[in-house]
Subunit: 372 residues, 2 copies
């Protein structure tokens, strides 16, 4: 019978203490019941998590590799997340370092429908970094945002996404915005002969997520963006699997920051933005780049890129999509870190270069092409 | 025009630095665009967040009270959460300390349908702590769980909830479990003349949440439990507002631990388990009690209880529902901390007392009655 597993790092005084703490995770994440009161032999031996291995990471810190019976996750993504980190998220000093789905779980969730290669086909950027920007600021009307989208597409950007703060506000209601922006980008594409992709933000309440994603598809969007911590991860999975949406999905990290605020607790950036996001269907994963206004280190970012591309059964690779305070002055360094398989997301930094967006985008492409 | 507001604590060297950092939050949580590039006067003056006040909390730490235009939240709970903490969650050293919804937002979300008083009516526990226990361990069949529910109800417990790890696993599929347990509790109630409430866990993927909640209602459940960080908060709000569900909702903290792992970042326990949970419709809020196996302090727990009961427009009070490692030896102390308006959740600690559940529950009630 199949089991999936999770690597947890934890604080412990010595190997015996680490073993005890790992066993506490085994119990907490499965039966959540005093083990000595569990009498059923099947529950004791199969349902309760099992420490498969334990190793010292550094003084006072250990890695426990713990397996769980596939059936504990009950074929629901919410419950899989619950087994991975539900109650243990509330315990101090324990971090999810990696997630290793079983073959059955990989078969159930499948991951990205398009993957990085699919996004290359849609944008027709066969090699090199894909250049992306964002429609903002919040408060502009749908016509103004569409006009900005038109100028960006005409200027040669590869992908345009809504700012994650554009929801369904009266300033630019979702349907009007998505339809106008998709139309504006299509118009620019007809002029340039290029294939710039427009990706609206479909983050919304409950059933509105899938409704907006289907509207986006029907109105010419080339992908959709979802802040999965706001909607719940399963809403992203549902959109990624919906045959009527049939578009790449970009994961946005809004509200996810608390999971990566500490190296001692939460979920490691590679596990969250790479493995979990892919498992839930993300074709690209937005994360805060190092050196900008957020708190990620260069190592965090490298780990995310690795986990977006690492082997995980037949699950497709996703694009890492660093953003958040990337300026022209550090594009060269950033591009050389990620190599060519990346979507570079530049919002404010691009607009700061001045009103000639075409010129700025040409310069951006020149700077980003240094990876080879 | 109305604005809602949020109190953030933040690290700063001095008042000038604190002012700069507060302004960064104002921009990040609204336009997410370099302020000097924002030209529209309405966006500059209204859409961008505003620091209403700033005060020193202690050396190096300040509280910024920041207001946002109601329209930025766009009448969607996901977007309200996004404005409160979306991208700022990824910045180091900033914590949401309190949330102050505007009258318009309170009118939109309304909060708990039943509230603490409604739960008292349903359980017919007119005063004193309500005693709750949980069905576990995961791995038992639906008949076994129903048998346990029957014994707990017969023994005099006031409220029985599913363990949050009971989802829809093959061991005890949701519909069979919910129907059997509700029936077993009703049978016990007919024998005792009491009104024990059964609350199944309806945490599930996307549309399944509301479907399970409606099934629960149709099959005699007295409430439903939702791990809102797994489903997304809006799924809980939707269930709380659904006329076909029409049951009290209990919020469970699975996966929410990373938000309260640090006093310097995330969301303060009172804001998360009290104000946010209530705003999203929770009639009771489960949280890890101090002194158990989780990481909350006594002050955290007091703050949650205060924020479950504090004035927030016409939003009803919710019951604080501490659980997680409560043993008989500390029931007296715990009950005296919370006073009578509390649901005491005791799972493993109750079963540890031995097989005579009725006797243990009598003893528990005696210990818990010390609040006066």
């Amino acid at each position: 019978m199949a089991r999936f597993s999770v690597d947890y790092s934890l604080n412990a005084r010595d190997p015996a203490d680490a073993k005890d703490k790992a066993f506490e995770i085994c119990v907490e994440q499965s039966v959540e019941f005093p083990f000595d009161l569990v009498t059923d032999p099947f529950i004791r031996s199969e349902v309760v998590g099992q420490t498969e291995s334990l190793r010292k990471l550094k003084s006072g810190r250990y890695i426990a590799h713990i397996s769980f019976h596939d059936d504990t996750a009950g074929k629901q993504f919410t419950q899989l997340l619950n087994v991975i980190f539900g109650n243990t998220s509330i315990k101090p000093g324990i971090r999810v370092e990696s997630i290793r789905p079983s073959a059955a779980i990989l078969d159930l969730y499948k991951g990205p429908r398009f993957g990085a290669q699919g996004i290359r086909k849609i944008t027709v950027v066969n090699r090199g970094p894909i250049l992306a920007s964002a429609l903002k600021p919040l408060g502009l009307g749908a016509r103004e945002l569409a006009s900005l989208a038109y100028r960006l597409a005409l200027g040669g950007i590869d992908l345009i996404k809504d700012d994650h703060g554009l929801a369904d506000q009266r300033f630019a209601p979702f349907r009007e915005r998505a339809a106008r922006c998709a139309e504006a980008v299509a118009r620019a594409n007809r002029q340039t002969g290029r294939t710039c992709a427009y990706v609206p933000n479909v983050t919304a309440d409950s059933a509105d997520v899938i409704a907006r994603a289907r509207f986006a598809k029907a109105n010419g969007a080339a992908g959709v963006m979802i802040s999965a911590m706001l909607t719940g991860f399963d809403a992203m999975r549902q959109v990624a699997n919906d045959p009527r949406v049939d578009l790449p999905v970009i994961f946005h990290p809004a509200l996810a920051g608390s999971f990566t605020a500490s190296a001692q607790s939460g979920i490691a950036p590679g596990a969250l933005y790479g493995r979990l996001a892919r498992l839930a269907g993300a074709d690209a994963s937005i994360f805060p780049n190092y050196g900008g206004r957020f708190s990620f280190s260069k190592e965090d970012c490298s780990s995310i890129a690795e986990n977006c591309a690492c082997r995980m059964g037949a699950v497709k690779k996703a694009f890492p999509m660093p953003g958040g305070g990337i300026g022209f002055q550090n594009v060269r360094e950033i591009a050389s870190l990620y190599g060519e398989d990346v979507i570079l997301l530049i919002g404010g930094g691009l607009f700061r270069q001045g009103p000639d967006l075409a010129k700025s985008i040409r310069e951006l492409r020149r700077l980003a092409a240094c990876f080879s």
